[in-house]
Structure formats: structure tokens, C-alpha cells
Symmetry: C2
Subunit: 344 residues, 2 copies
């Protein structure tokens, strides 16, 4: 890494989204007198009678969660997207300034385990494999629908990331339209393929593996890196070695490796500040909008907010909202912290 | 407003950034068992001996804050941007994937008042006018510098928005490069001008004033609306009536009107949940990159996170980070809530 960049404010380019991030490596000395977060003790109970995601309990909407024994999927009782939305498209006043269109889709909740006290980090690789299989099954079912162009699988983990329940679970929001981030990444990968004649993330993965300084974990089929253009302090991207576009393209061995690296990354996170590490994570498979996406390389993003300790987070506010993202530690030093944590 | 959109999930188009926001009007019924925020009692002391922004006190970096009596500007002791950064540009491996460049700039802090217990909402219009004048002075000085292309004036208000001190203050981050958000808004305004032969925000302002349903406040020279494409629950945009591109173009009367509407919006916010309303706000003047920006219309964004009460916020997590922004209440109902609050 350019030594000038290690010590001085600089911008880095994110070729996936074709946007910049501001890096201010010298800034971590500043004292923090602002908000501190509560640390969350991991739930102690294997079954919590008050938890609506524990097997057999009644949910707020009135439905009862099955007495499931592995994973469990149900339609979100308060879904942001619904399948039966009327289609409309309006441009009040006809000047392109008040444009709205009906959006349909499906929102589901996926419980990762019947055990209330587990997390991806503490589940067995076999247990995570069951989750990966459900993600794949659900995706396959949803992408085959005419009215779905994208299936967004994600997990909000921890109260700090808006999770309203500590029971291990994630969500699927599948929509008729392509979400903004997917549109940007599609354009970025497509442009790279056109210009360089090869896949952006294949090239990038090979480069990172050769350099090593941002690699956090690797196994027979996947690698986890702090991206060169990371925005969140300990942001991680997981990439398959092979150029595959979605879960369906993975072999059974690859699904095992994927499960293993998910456990490795989340378990490493928990060691960084000796606290259950909050994050939002999500899968980015290719769009299922009926078009070809030869440049799309499957990947997973982890966006964790903690910066300095279990109680001091990075705030994406002021300049970040009005200008653009800014980070205080370099991706290289974040990767080193993660590698050290992994050894503990 | 299209009645179908009032009751059904839909997307709205933001022509400034040319991106979509997902609106799920039916979703507010969902129960909230997640994180709740601490409510902040407004500071009671006019002078706090522990506050490094109060006149005459020593800051963490060792410098002493002057015994100021109106506004006060100083270089940020822990600046994210510095003027003397070495210029460099690197593309390790030469494949466009590890691109970095030195970024220089200036970060300053602006105290709005010597009084520790005041806020924009509780300051007098005259007091705010002094702040507007400092913003204008600072901007004028900074844009005249060769090494500055953008002057981002902003305020993070409240611990929830990362403010580390309740003393009324804002910041300026001025940079050599144009920040992402400014690049996007520049492209959006430019494209609109080219396509329609008129200014996007002039058209939009006129439309909103005629319709009324999203207007929150108005005076002789400014209007405040919840934008049709608002992302944050009670997001507000302030627009000047005249097509002016920055603070320098404002007449003295306009600066008074600007000060008055800033007070009106912030005071209204505090009434919504009877709590000091957290937000990030910032000015968006035209870039000062030496180019012409005929389509740029000066505006102010307010991005406040509270959704349902003083303690329940909107989380921009999971789907929002991986897909795109989503909101639960319509901009029209948010505007009505704000108008009602203003009357209290
Ligand atoms: O400069 P401050 O007030 O210490 O810091 C605050 O505002 C900055 C600019 O939006 C952010 O980068 C920080 O995350 C936030 O805590
Ligand atoms: O659906 P949940 O878990 O209640 O809600 C959480 O995740 C959603 C999807 O990222 C967000 O829109 C909400 O703001 C967040 O609180």
C-alpha cells in the first residue's frame, strides 16, 4: 500500500459503485465525548417464552410460530412489500418531478435456529449450512416468479442495527424493481467487463490474495477481505474463488466452504471488542430481471458500525449524508486488527 | 397525491440524485421491541465549565476557545481534511481497482452562540442571522482558494446524530474534490436543465407551493417542504424562491428570511415529540470548481432520524444499506404532522 496513503487524508475509489470514500488515517486520536452504546449481553436462554421467534410462540400479528427444529421461514407480519400491490405509474404535473410507481414484492423472515441463544458465530458450520440451503431454496423459488427482479437476503444483527429481536434470524425482501445499490453494482461490473474484458471481482480477488494485506480469512472456495474501498470501519466482503453469480451456481462443497467462512468472519468480529459485534450483512447475487449479467460476481457485504470499542461506533451523519462516506482507520489496519482477533 | 400511492407500497423518484426511495405507508402498525433511544434533556447551564466550546475553556487538543460573544470559528483540532496534504494519485497494479488519491481541505468548527443552553430553535432570528453571515463569510473565503472545490456547511445535532457536544455548533468541511452527493445533485440538476430548459428546483418549488400538501413553512423568500422523495421520516428541504446558487447571492433581506425559516423549521421539529429533535442538516450551494453551474439552485437538507416518538428512530440498515432507502410514513403525512406541530 502506498505509504503516503497510510498517513495522509486521501480518497479511494469503489469500482463496484463508482463512488469515492474519504479516508482520514490520522483522525483516531480525537477524544470521544459523544454517545456511547449499551453493550448487549448475549441472550442466556435457549428458549425464551417472550420471544415471538422461538418455536411455538405467538407473534404480534396473532400468527403462531411453528415448533420448528432447524430453520423456519414465514411471511413478514408487517411486510414493507406485498405481492398484490396495484400497478400504477404516475407523474403528477407531467414534469418528471412527482414520479411514483406501485412496487410489489415479498418480505419473509428466516429463523436460523430454534435456539434463542445462538448466532451465526456460535452455530455449527452444519447449522449454518442449513441456513445457506434455505437461502438458496427461497431464492430459487422467488427468482422464478415473473414479478420479482431481485431477491435481497440480509441480516440485521444487534439492537444498534435496528434488530428488534436477538433470536438468530434474517430477512428476505424480494422486489419487482432493482434496488439502487444493485443498479449501481450492476453498472460498475458491466462497465469493467466492457473496458477490461474480464470480471471486476475475479481480478480484484486475485489481487487481494496475492497482496494479502487486506485478507481476513480464506478457505478452499472463498476469501474474506476488508475492501480497499471499505466505508464501515470493519467492513468485510466475502467472495467466491470461482466466477459464480448466485447461490444456485454453488456446488455442495462450495456451500460448505461458504458456511465455514460465514462462521469465521462472524466469530472473528465477536473477538474484536469482546462483544457480540453488531452488523448488517447481505448477499448480492445477480439480478433476476431476465437479462444476462456476465460481469456479475456473487458477493456478501458485512457493514458493522463499531469503531473503537464495544460502545463507540462510527456515525454516518453530517458530512457522510450530505457529502460522502468518511472513515478514520485504514482498511489495511482494520484487516490487521481482524486477523489478530482471529488468533485469540 | 395519487390515492393508490397513499395506501400501497410504491417507489418515488428523486430527480436531484436520480435514485428511488421505497415507501411503505401501511407499515407503521408494526410493534417496536427494538432499541429505544435516551431522551436528551436540553442543557440547563448557560455556561458549562466542562464544555470545550464554551467561551474561555480549554479544548482536548490543548488550544483555548476565545472569550467570544457572538459566533466563533476555529480549525477543527482533529480535522478529517488538512490543507497541506501531499498530492498523489496511485493505481497499484494498474487495473483501476486499487485507486487512491491524496485529498486536501479544511475542517472548521463554528460555534453558533456563546450560550451553552441555546439551539437554532431557541436562538433569536437575529442570533441566527449572525450564524448565516459567518457561513457566508467562511464560504466566500474558502471558495476563493484554488485548492477548494466544495464548501460543505453542516450541523450534527443531538447525540443520536454523532454530535459529541450539546453546545450549539456546526462544522465546515471544504475539500479539493467534489463529494459524491454533490456530484449526483449536480448531474441531476444539469440533466433536468438540458432536458426541460428550466431549473429543476425552480419548477419543483412552484409546484409544491401550488399544491400545498408537502409545504411545512414559507415566508417572503423561502419555502420549507417535505420533499416528494424524502428518505428520512421528517426530512425537510428549504428552498429560496429566487434562482440563486449560493449564500453570496442572497440579499440582506433574504438572509433575514433564511434565518427566520431555519428557526421555524427547527422549532417545529422540537414540538413533534416534545423533545430536542436530533438531525443532520447542511447547505448545498453550487460547487466552486471553476465551472459554470446554471442549473444549480441553493438548498438546505434536514435529515432527522426520529420516526414514532422521542425514543423510536428509523434505522437505515439491512435493506437500506444493501438495496436502497425505505420509509414507513408518507411525505404527505409527515408534512401534516409538522404543520400541526407548528400550531402548538
Ligand atoms: O466531527 P465530530 O463532530 O467529532 O464527528 C461527527 O461528525 C463527523 C462529520 O459528519 C462524522 O464523521 C463523525 O462520525 C461524527 O461523530
Ligand atoms: O423489519 P425489522 O427487523 O422490524 O426492521 C429493521 O430492518 C428493516 C430492513 O432493513 C428496516 O427498514 C428497519 O428500519 C429496521 O428496524
Amino acid at each position: 500500500m502506498n505509504p503516503l496513503a497510510q498517513q495522509n487524508p486521501h480518497r479511494r475509489f469503489n469500482p463496484l459503485k463508482r463512488e469515492w470514500v474519504l479516508v482520514s488515517p490520522h483522525r483516531t486520536q480525537r477524544p470521544w465525548q459523544g454517545q456511547t452504546e449499551k453493550t448487549a449481553a448475549p441472550p442466556a436462554l435457549q428458549y425464551d417464552p417472550e420471544c415471538y421467534l422461538c418455536p411455538g410462540n405467538v407473534r404480534a400479528g396473532g400468527a403462531r410460530t411453528d415448533k420448528y427444529t432447524s430453520t423456519y421461514v414465514f411471511e413478514n407480519d408487517f411486510a414493507a412489500l406485498k405481492p398484490d400491490t396495484p400497478r400504477f405509474s404516475s407523474d403528477e404535473e407531467g414534469k418528471g418531478l412527482l414520479v411514483a410507481e406501485g412496487e410489489s414484492g415479498v418480505c419473509r423472515v428466516i429463523c436460523f435456529s430454534p435456539r434463542h441463544d445462538l448466532t451465526l458465530a456460535t452455530m455449527s458450520v452444519g447449522g449454518i449450512r442449513a441456513v445457506v440451503d434455505v437461502w438458496a431454496e427461497q431464492s430459487l423459488e422467488l427468482v422464478s416468479r415473473e414479478d420479482i427482479s431481485y431477491v435481497q437476503v440480509f441480516e440485521n444483527r444487534g439492537a444498534m442495527m435496528g434488530a428488534s429481536n436477538p433470536h438468530p434470524h434474517g430477512q428476505i425482501w424480494a422486489s419487482r424493481s432493482l434496488p439502487n445499490e444493485v443498479v449501481a453494482e450492476q453498472a460498475g461490473q458491466d462497465a469493467y467487463l466492457k473496458e477490461h474484458g474480464c470480471c471486476l471481482l475475479c481480478e480484484y480477488r486475485a489481487m487481494e490474495v496475492a497482496l494479502g494485506e487486506r485478507v481476513v480469512a480464506a478457505n478452499d472456495a472463498f476469501v474474506a477481505v476488508v475492501p480497499f474501498w471499505a466505508v464501515w470501519p470493519f467492513e468485510v466482503m466475502i467472495l467466491p474463488d470461482r466466477h459464480i453469480a448466485d447461490l444456485e451456481a454453488m456446488t455442495s462443497e462450495e456451500r460448505d466452504c461458504f458456511s465455514a467462512i460465514l462462521k469465521e468472519v462472524t466469530a472473528t468480529y465477536d473477538k474484536v471488542f469482546d462483544t457480540p459485534f453488531p452488523y448488517s450483512m447481505g448477499l448480492h447475487p445477480q439480478p433476476s430481471d431476465g437479462k444476462e449479467h456476465p460481469g456479475w460476481h456473487f458477493h456478501v457485504h458485512f457493514y458493522p458500525p463499531l469503531l473503537r470499542s464495544a460502545t463507540i461506533r462510527k456515525f454516518m451523519v453530517g458530512f457522510e449524508l450530505l457529502g460522502g462516506p468518511q472513515r478514520d482507520i485504514t482498511p489495511e489496519s482494520a484487516a490487521e486488527t481482524l486477523r489478530r482477533a482471529a488468533l485469540r
